[in-house]
């Protein structure tokens, strides 16, 4: 069956239908395979043998591999889907599974590994890290192959008993949408007959014929036992070939382990594996047509390494062979495929079987770096030199060790019959979704082929997307981005002001612009460089105000249908009438279940679009001199203005190796240079109505609301429109107060409006802070610039104990690219306001590590003294341990410092030493005094002329100020993959602060259920509603007795949140804060996020509590219940969230049942908490290390 899907779905379709069990865990870019399996299972789709596969989500990839190993030993046909570090977590089990000759296939969307930095993108580092496990490795090069080889590997693993990793390039193949011929159930069943499954089952553990497997072996037999499997490995190439032959008989599609393509007498040959092979094949054809004698060897089976097939594939005429590896093995003699090929050829040459060609090794395509025909041609050019470089890289500019080859980036070898279209959009405008839909529409036309690939930036709000679409009469085998487009669309004006959207334009390109300006002004409003390019290239310019059309059609901000219609109207990829008919058909299909109204509105939008689309007259010369908006605004360091700026401008590919840090260390505080202006509506302060309570600044997820108080005289020279009010506080006569909106950074999320308690009488829905259209940007900039000249209020003059006071503390986490209205970031911001100047932060991988540390910029910043949170992300699973390590190091250094300080008593004097050693360091005033003492000490040490003890003390003197260690992350980490680590670190008794920003779901990877997901919520991997309740992590921690625990929700009680943060940090022992974080994955109107926090608490779903061991030490009840008795039913909270409503729609009975159980659980837990809150202290564990019983 011909269909249009991406590589993930292609692979999953075969894998799901050929297995009984999928043991899974989410990880980009493989998550989609697991999600689809879960959805199909929930829908009751059987596999080809007639049973519905079980899908089990585990707590980590290690867990998934363990469950899988068990299921295999139990005789079930089992599979998993993973990538990157996830695959690495499976390695211990992989050795076991292979050692026991167990049939299984792991489907891997191959991805980079986290080294100097994490990357979610594609290369072969992960699969190369398992090549030694005993698994066979089979590689697909396209979505079609991902489907076909998924099936072939299943047959081969069952016939050979060797487990397989079937992999394909992450993103490039996993996310490329293309035409795929799906195998029918009958074909799959014929390919993998049931007899093989029965044989697999017969090998399972059974008490009916018991034996033991998994023994411990001794020096006498381990070695020999390890050699027993050799015949099985030797048989694999033959068995895979047989499987491929059988597959060809069934489908007509023929594959080989190793395929040669090109001139039979080629002199120059490239060996390559993965999607890059398609690019090399096409380029070889192009070069040979120009008279070259070149060829390409494409590997599909990599392990067991098919030596004979490789030798047979490389023509004897080959003078030089370049082996390309999409991986990096620092310190090795060469990358793995290169070494393998070299060894094969060397052996053959040494035994006289063939002449030895020159073999060189090259690296390409790390982290989805483009691999284009131009690069392939560049490699062949190098091979033509008398002495090509023995090791090289392609696609980058390595100006340090000079490995990189030159190439011509403009080489275009595409079939002229192919239509290439590029679309620039914003993430929230539906451009990508509409394009996926367009591909389906066009791809369904017989004799037409379509391909789509989508590029995203690293922000979660206001993100840019670029869609690359190709259509044509022949199958599209071009796994690289378009570099010459016949159609370009820019769906958001703000994009064309910042990025050259005509980068891929050519003479006569049709350009569609979504404009907020009147049609006759469109051209004049374009940046001058763009105008010039339009004129020079004779570009055909069209424009529409799609936002207006969408609004008029009742579709709000969703412009996708409107712009999709325009594409069909002017691109001529299909006859317009036929296209419009198809668009409407697709609308009916997509929205049928949402009701007739939605369908009607979309259809009306289609008709309205055509009426409002206009061809723009292009003048002979540019009008005006409007420049592009630069990527970095304001004075920045050299690094930021060159390197960061280049990444922001989308030209990071051109940065040379020398420009980048060698160890992954980047400067803090760089989001402030972006000034993204992503929202047309922003917060607007009403100084008259404001009571200066600080609630808005407290909840602002993007730190764009800043408050200062200052002497009235500071207003001299203020811009006319600068806002100010008398300070509303006793004891400060004449002082003024300003709440400044950082207009260019505000995302218009509206949480501030919700948090504002002021409702001016007669003001309707108005508050003291409201959302309003952006005023003139220059005025906003002036106001912010002036505000920044007013000094930040001194910390010693701010009352930390209440929300009102915190607004005057400088946030050192600002302007993140998190979702507009994010529920997590306000907590991080608060952390930095309170403790940022002396904090180190260990951040688990997830949303927070992405908006916190995804290049180009970071929101973690520093104050005017250059101090601020030091931040690092280790991995997903180890964050608590990583943070504990930071604590241990700090404690060691503190210990060293104190010892050296005591030793230097004669030189430093008693007063200095005693003051520092005896200083209390709990409150801010004490800490600032200690900071002054340490600064003085350091100055003194600098005058002392060195010596081992002085130098030693100088190197660790900073640790005499108490360091605040924070371990932060989401629930996927704390409840699942990092659960054991969190538990262990809490049990360590060390002074660490763990902040769990609990969104009750894996937010970063797209909403998969965690053990925090509440009963009855629909999430990925819980599409029938989560069957089990949420884990009470607070009570787990309470059970230790010496752990400070708090459950907070700032939307319900900001004061309690503040109190908990301060107590947790002050507590000299482990602390755990569970912070309710509303999230887009809840399916809520994000403006109502705080209201939902309130409902979570008011319904008893999220009871606010603190457990403070300090109270126990003084004989008081440490368990404090901070929220009032539930006053709304759980249903009232559930009804406001799509995650619960979805089940009520799809399975009302189940929803009702879960709700009843949920309400019971709420009632029961509340009763327990109430009881605990009224107990005597003696009924709680005491801390043996520091108090009496």
């Amino acid at each position: 069956m011909r269909t249009i899907i991406d590589g993930n779905e292609a692979a999953a379709s075969a894998a799901y239908r050929l297995n009984e069990l999928c043991s899974i865990y989410p990880i980009t870019p493989s998550s989609t395979m697991a999600e689809l399996a879960d959805e199909w299972s929930a829908q009751g789709r059987p596999n080809v043998y007639g049973m519905i596969p079980t899908v089990v989500e585990m707590q980590s990839e290690g867990g998934a591999a363990g469950a899988l190993h068990g299921a295999l030993q139990g005789g079930a046909l089992s599979t998993t889907f993973t990538a990157s570090q996830g695959l690495l977590l499976m390695i211990p089990n992989m050795y076991k599974i292979a050692g026991e000759l167990t049939s299984t296939v792991f489907h891997v969307a191959a991805r980079s590994l986290a080294a100097q930095g994490l990357s979610i993108y594609g290369d072969h580092q992960d699969v190369m890290a398992v090549r030694q496990t005993g698994f066979a490795l089979l590689c697909s090069a396209s979505p079609q192959e991902a489907h076909d080889l998924a099936a072939i590997s299943q047959l081969a693993t069952l016939t050979s008993r060797i487990p397989f990793v079937h992999f394909f390039d992450g993103f490039r193949t996993s996310h490329e949408v293309n035409v795929v011929d799906l195998l029918s159930d009958d074909q799959l069943r014929d390919l993998v007959p049931e007899e093989l499954i029965r044989a697999h089952r017969r090998r399972a553990l059974s008490p009916e014929h018991p034996y033991i497997r998994g023994t411990a072996q001794n020096p006498d037999t381990y070695f020999q036992s390890r050699e027993t499997v050799n015949p099985f490995y030797a048989a694999v190439p033959g068995l895979v070939t047989e499987a491929m032959e059988k597959f060809a008989e069934l489908t007509g599609r023929r594959y080989e382990l190793v395929e040669y393509h090109g001139d039979p007498e080629a002199e120059r040959v490239v060996v390559v594996m993965g999607s890059g092979a398609q690019t090399v094949v096409k380029t070889v054809d192009y070069l040979n047509a120009q008279g070259a004698k070149v060829g390409v060897v494409q590997l599909r089976l990599y392990r067991p390494f098919p030596v004979e097939q490789i030798l047979a594939a490389i023509p004897a005429t080959a003078r030089v062979v370049a082996v390309l590896d999409r991986t990096k093995e620092p310190g090795s003699g060469g990358e793995p495929l290169f070494l393998d090929v070299t060894a094969a050829l060397g052996e053959a040459a040494a035994t006289g079987r063939r002449a030895m060609p020159l073999v060189v090794g090259g690296r390409y395509g790390l982290s989805s770096k483009e691999f284009t025909p131009g690069m392939v041609a560049g490699i062949f050019d190098e091979l033509a030199l008398p002495q090509p470089r023995p090791r090289f890289t392609i696609g980058i500019n390595d100006d340090v060790t000079h490995t990189s080859l030159p190439y011509d980036p403009t080489l275009d070898i595409e079939d002229p019959a192919t239509v290439s279209a590029v679309f620039y959009g914003l993430g929230s405008d539906g451009t990508v979704g509409a394009n996926k839909n367009t591909i389906k529409i066009i791809g369904e036309v017989p004799g037409t082929y379509a391909q789509g690939y989508f590029v995203y930036d690293s922000k979660k709000s206001g993100s840019r997307t670029v869609s690359h679409l190709r259509f044509g009469p022949k199958p599209i085998e071009a796994p690289y981005l378009i570099n010459s487009a016949s159609f370009i669309a820019c769906h958001a004006w703000s994009v064309l002001e910042r990025v050259d959207v005509l980068e891929f334009a050519r003479p006569g390109t049709v350009l569609l612009i979504n404009t907020p300006y009147p049609i006759d002004e469109v051209f004049a409003r374009l940046p001058e460089p763009m105008q010039a390019k339009i004129i020079d290239l004779g570009i055909e310019l069209w424009a529409i105000d799609a936002n207006l059309v969408a609004r008029k059609a009742g579709m709000g901000r969703r412009t996708n249908t409107v712009l999709q219609t325009c594409f069909f109207a002017i691109s001529k990829v299909l006859p317009a009438e036929q296209a419009i008919k198809q668009v409407k058909k697709a609308i009916r299909k997509t929205y049928a279940r949402k009701g007739a109204d939605v369908v009607a509105k979309n259809e009306a939008a289609v008709d309205a679009s055509l009426a409002d689309l206009h061809r723009i007259e292009v003048p002979a010369a540019p009008v005006g001199d409007q420049p592009m908006i630069p990527p970095v605004i304001g004075a920045a360091s050299q690094f930021v203005s060159t390197v960061t700026a280049s990444m922001l401008a989308g030209t990071g590919d051109q940065l040379p190796v020398s420009a980048l840090p060698v160890d992954g260390t980047y400067p803090s505080g760089t989001t402030k240079y972006e000034k993204r202006n992503i929202s047309d509506i922003i917060a607007e302060w009403d100084p008259e109505a404001c009571i200066q309570c600080g609630n808005c600044a407290f909840v602002c997820p993007h730190a764009v609301l800043r408050a200062k108080y200052y002497a009235g005289s500071a207003l001299d020279g203020a811009p006319e429109c600068f806002q100010s009010a008398p300070l509303n506080a006793a004891g400060f006569p004449g002082s003024r107060y300003t709440l400044q909106v950082y207009a260019e950074d505000c995302t218009g999320c509206g949480l501030c409006v919700e948090a504002c308690p002021v409702k001016p009488i007669g003001g309707g829905n108005r508050r003291a802070i409201n959302l309003a259209p952006v005023l003139e940007r220059t005025k906003e900039k002036e106001n912010v610039a002036f505000f920044e000249t007013i000094p930040v209020n001194r910390r010693s003059r701010v009352d930390f104990a209440n929300v009102r006071g915190t607004q005057f503390l400088e946030p050192l986490f600002e302007f993140s690219g998190a979702c507009s209205g994010c529920g997590e970031t306000p907590y991080l911001k608060l952390l930095t306001q309170l403790f940022g100047g002396r904090a180190t932060v260990a951040n688990a991988t997830g949303c927070s590590s992405i908006y916190g540390g995804n290049l180009p910029t970071t929101p973690w910043s520093s104050n005017k003294y250059g101090r601020g949170p030091a931040w690092s992300n280790s991995l997903f699973e180890d964050n608590a341990e990583f943070g504990l390590g930071l604590r241990l190091a700090a404690d060691l250094h503190t210990e060293t410092a104190r010892r050296r300080l005591a030793e230097l008593r004669p030189e430093l004097g008693d007063a200095t030493v005693d003051a520092i050693l005896g200083a209390p360091q709990q409150y801010e005033s004490e800490l600032s005094q200690q900071r002054a003492r340490v600064d003085a000490l350091k100055a003194l040490l600098d005058t002392m002329g060195g010596g081992p003890r002085v130098d030693d003390l100088r190197s660790v003197a900073d640790h005499l100020l108490r360091r605040s260690v924070w371990i932060v992350g989401g629930d996927g980490w704390a409840y699942d993959i990092g659960s054991a680590g969190v538990d262990h670190v809490l049990a360590s008794g060390r002074d660490v602060n763990i902040l769990v920003m609990d969104t009750e779901v894996y937010s970063n990877t797209g909403g998969q259920a965690s053990k925090s997901t509440p009963l009855g919520a629909v999430a990925k991997f819980a599409s029938g509603g989560k069957m089990t309740g949420k884990k009470d992590v607070a009570m787990q921690a309470v059970s230790y007795g010496n752990v400070y625990v708090a459950r907070v929700a700032m939307g319900a009680d900001p004061q309690q949140t503040l109190k908990a943060f301060r107590e947790a940090e002050a507590y000299d022992g482990p602390s755990l804060i569970l912070a309710y974080s509303h999230c887009i994955a809840h399916g809520i109107d994000m403006r109502k996020g705080l209201d939902q926090q309130y409902r979570a608490v008011a319904s008893g779903h999220w009871p606010l509590m603190r457990y403070n061991p300090v109270l126990r030490m003084s004989g008081r009840n440490p368990f404090l219940l901070d929220s009032p008795r539930p006053r709304i039913p759980l249903k009232e909270y559930h009804d406001k969230e799509l995650r619960f409503r979805m089940l009520a729609n799809s399975d009302p009975e189940a929803a009702e049942r879960f709700l009843e159980f949920g309400q019971d659980a709420v009632n029961r837990r509340w009763a327990e908490y109430e009881e605990m809150a009224t107990r005597g202290a003696e009924r709680f564990a005491a801390d043996a290390t520091r108090s009496d019983r």
């Binding site: 980009t28 870019p29 998550s31 989609t32 999600e35 879960d38 959805e39 929930a42 829908q43 979610i120 993108y121 993103f171 993430g427 929230s428 539906g430 451009t431 990508v432 979704g433 996926k436 989508f454 995203y456 922000k459 979660k460 993100s463 997307t465 709000g556 969703r558 049928a592 279940r593 949402k594 009701g595 109204d597 939605v598 509105k601 308690p757 409702k759 979702c819 992405i850 937010s1003 970063n1004 990877t1005 797209g1006 909403g1007 629909v1018 999430a1019 990925k1020 599409s1023 887009i1080 994955a1081 399916g1083 109107d1085 309130y1094 799509l1138 995650r1139 409503r1141 979805m1142 089940l1143 729609n1145 799809s1146 009302p1148």
Partner: protein
Amino acid sequence: MNLRTTYLGLPLRNPLVASAGPLSQTVDGVKGLADGGVGAVVLYSLFEEQVRAQLEQAERDALLEEEHADLFAEATSYFPSVSAEPVETVAVKYLSLVEKASRAIDVPLIASLNGSSLGSWVQFARQLEEAGAAALELNIYFMPGDTSLAGPDVEQRHIDIVAAVKQNISIPVAVKLAPYFSSFGSFALRLVEAGADGVVLFNRFLQPDVDVERVEVVPGVELSNPSEARLPRTWIAALRHRLPVSIAATSGVETADDVVAYLLAGADVVMTTSALVRHGRDYSRVLLDGLDTWLTRKGFASVDSARGLLAVPADADAAGYQRAGYVTALEKAKSRYGSLVG
């Protein structure tokens, strides 16, 4: 004892009717009410707003699912595709309940629509008739917040709804009303002229409460109490001999005495939800037994013979009658509390 009663032309085994409320949400619920012994069941109300809200919710949900899709490389969506089936609308659900419940019980099932405008009620009323409803109760709950709307306009709006619905269906229609009309009797007569087969007195106006903590208005629904029966009872007594159609009493029934009081005032049937919610579906048996005992004790042979004994006589000046009662009441109060009227 003969408790047989006629309401809206429908013969009932007794005058106790389960009014629209939470107990009739399911077939089993309706069956439980009928098994409890009531003479008829009014199904819970389908709200005009509910139907509209569901359509709007579906649209918002579609947006929520799409809003954050495809904007970030790691997450091209945030929700699984759960089901391709169209969502069962509340209207479809209601029709199906009417169909199943009317077949499951042996007493009349009265469907109930709650709204304040014509909307699509006419069409839907016909579907309810086809689904097997024995009668239709139109609950017109309208709070005229628009100060430009004059009293007669408000009344006309009610008349138009009743007329339009009556023209399209052949089953009887009762109208449930609020008491806040300047001349309720005249207005009730106009409703009869427009085709109403009965009136249900009264709709309770659910005044919202204020949450001082959140500084917010909170809608409040509470069960009725016996003191609330006085207003409807007064009007039933006044209109019994002046309205040529069925009159149903609703609000404030807690004991059999409350039922008797309504019947004495002239109600054809007495409705309750609050008592059944408080004491369970079978409580209707207690109320009916109490009614039976009272009739026997007082020597009545049937409920008909006691009905309307305390209604304002047909030949009395109703206004004068009420005024006299009012004056007497004040005199009584004066002797207990001192002067209340200045």
